[in-house]
Symmetry: C2
Subunit: 390 residues, 2 copies
Amino acid sequence: MLTSQKYYLMAPGPSMIPERILLEMAKPIIHHRTKAFEAVLEKVRGQLKSVFQTKNEVLLLASTGSGAMEASIVNCFSPGDKVIAVRSGKFGERWAEQAKVFGLNVIPFDVQWGDAVDLNKFELLLNAHGDAKGILCQACETSTGVFHPIETMAKLIKKRSETLFLVDAITAMGITSLPTDEWGLDVVISGSQKAFMLPPGLAMISFSEKAWKFNQTAKLPRYYFDAKSTLDMAKKNQTPFTPAISLIHGLAIALEMIETETLPKLFARHKRLAQATREAVQAVNLELLAKSPSDSITAVVAPHGIDGEKVFSHMQNKYNVTIIGGQDHLKSKIFRLGHMGYCGDFDILAMMGALEMTLKDFGHKFEMGKGVAAAYDHDSWQNIAFLEQA
Amino acid sequence: MLTSQKYYLMAPGPSMIPERILLEMAKPIIHHRTKAFEAVLEKVRGQLKSVFQTKNEVLLLASTGSGAMEASIVNCFSPGDKVIAVRSGKFGERWAEQAKVFGLNVIPFDVQWGDAVDLNKFELLLNAHGDAKGILCQACETSTGVFHPIETMAKLIKKRSETLFLVDAITAMGITSLPTDEWGLDVVISGSQKAFMLPPGLAMISFSEKAWKFNQTAKLPRYYFDAKSTLDMAKKNQTPFTPAISLIHGLAIALEMIETETLPKLFARHKRLAQATREAVQAVNLELLAKSPSDSITAVVAPHGIDGEKVFSHMQNKYNVTIIGGQDHLKSKIFRLGHMGYCGDFDILAMMGALEMTLKDFGHKFEMGKGVAAAYDHDSWQNIAFLEQA
């Protein structure tokens, strides 16, 4: 529907795409077996390492994040290998199921949706399964907005030479600092449609030296997602198969934007956006789902008597602001707000404005304007250098 | 490099993308779990069936064509299953290797690069392997430009209830008529960056009823490429994982353009472009590689003493026209011209102009202008209704 009403995409991904990226991808396509494209790949490879905070190669796959989740399994393991899979939401369940389909012996570590990993329980389970070859965990679980204690989990796993830590950072990379090498994250996955400000269809995956060793003996069959052949070609600024050319051109611009902002400011901005959102939401008498909330997504409990799905659809249909609802058993019970990537401080005010109007339409009890005001009030707003030069 | 010199992409894929598709994909992205996106998917699903000439669902995968080749294998077979793989070029070898990696018993049917399948030899091999569960063959082999006798091969295979015919139509669908149901093609694959006039990153795959029966007992593990869950979601105008949203929006425009042109005229145009190219190339004393040339790609033998790679790079660097060279053992020996998708009759003249200039630069003996004239001269040019309304 054509309308002049401004559209805001404040969902947990895809996130809004900067105009200059859209225009970059709208340029005439070039062939991938050319010096011009190799130069783009070379630049992207270097900048991706900076964002992933790793000296290892960050491989590009022409797939969405779920494809990279599959790549992590087939490149590191053999049928029958034992892995512990943290299941704290939809995406944890997906990864566990995927590992099971490929014949792994999956020990589920079930965490109530909305909770973070309890480190004591995790350590107990880890000790009970000394033969586990891998631990699968989301950094941010997109279905609940929880951020797991990745740094401490990594410390526990790092001691064990025969166990890899595989981290799904699809909704965390480029939002919260995840120093891959410093923390010792063995496999780290991300996707294009969150902090990287692109359409979906491009995935990234890095492997530590330890993970590359696992790769040498991993027996699961792989071809399209084969990491070794992708690495070999990447070193020549090429890909084994036709790459997602237009997305990689867009990625080059996204990485330039991230480089200009600098990583510390990128992380600080996302922290600020998330804090403003959390305070705003609570100021209009709403409750957060996540006990340990991420800076990527805010999951909000739908107020008593109001269907979370209706909050989402009403906000979209009446105010042209897209948030999203809950998944599986949280459907109708929550709604989720995204504040990732190309999201400015004032977008939080816009989102809260639409949310307050929606809540009022549904008869929720709160004082109009309190949410927007709370976002403003937040301490950190006083210290923003909005257009500070890098 | 910024230049005002007009750029022509006349490669075997990616092909040129219509401006209106580039602009469609440059619109603000919308979320995939919305009525608006479901409506786009519904329309695309119907129109894809028309192009594939099938009543079965054409599934969309967020991958390139090589991902769909993998999907065809893991969805139809079990480890140890015997398949006959036609290896007549780079892509036939890729599919055979992929099948081998996934534990299939691959009987190679080797065809000299540049030749088409010999039907007598094929029938003999087919009879010698009555237990073959599948035959893998490219419709057009992109590395040589050959079009294989798919219709007759299908007739031979159709008699056998326990054998599937899997056809890689990445560089053939939407160019040459491939009536999937009428001919009895069991699995048909295509990709976005050829006749569908899009960037790479979206693949299509259809399964016959017979193939869906194989799917029920196929034991190879699959998740990202699982056809059954993709089908189940497609019926609800959804996808099991995040789809390639922007490419699907672009596809909707591409399919509208194809519908407006109509299939008979789409096929006739590609036949005309290919014939004009073949006559033009021969008129400047060049030899065609393919004995049975496709209407998608023309592979040309590099003249004695002239390196095919240099023809390709010189044409690009000096004239801003991208064709491409040969692959593997045909590297330097051939160059390949693409005339697919958003390619008009006059583009053949532009391409031939640049090729003639290049050949002259390298001292090849021929009469300047003969190539362009031969393209013009071709009978069929007299009968083009260039802007005929649909």
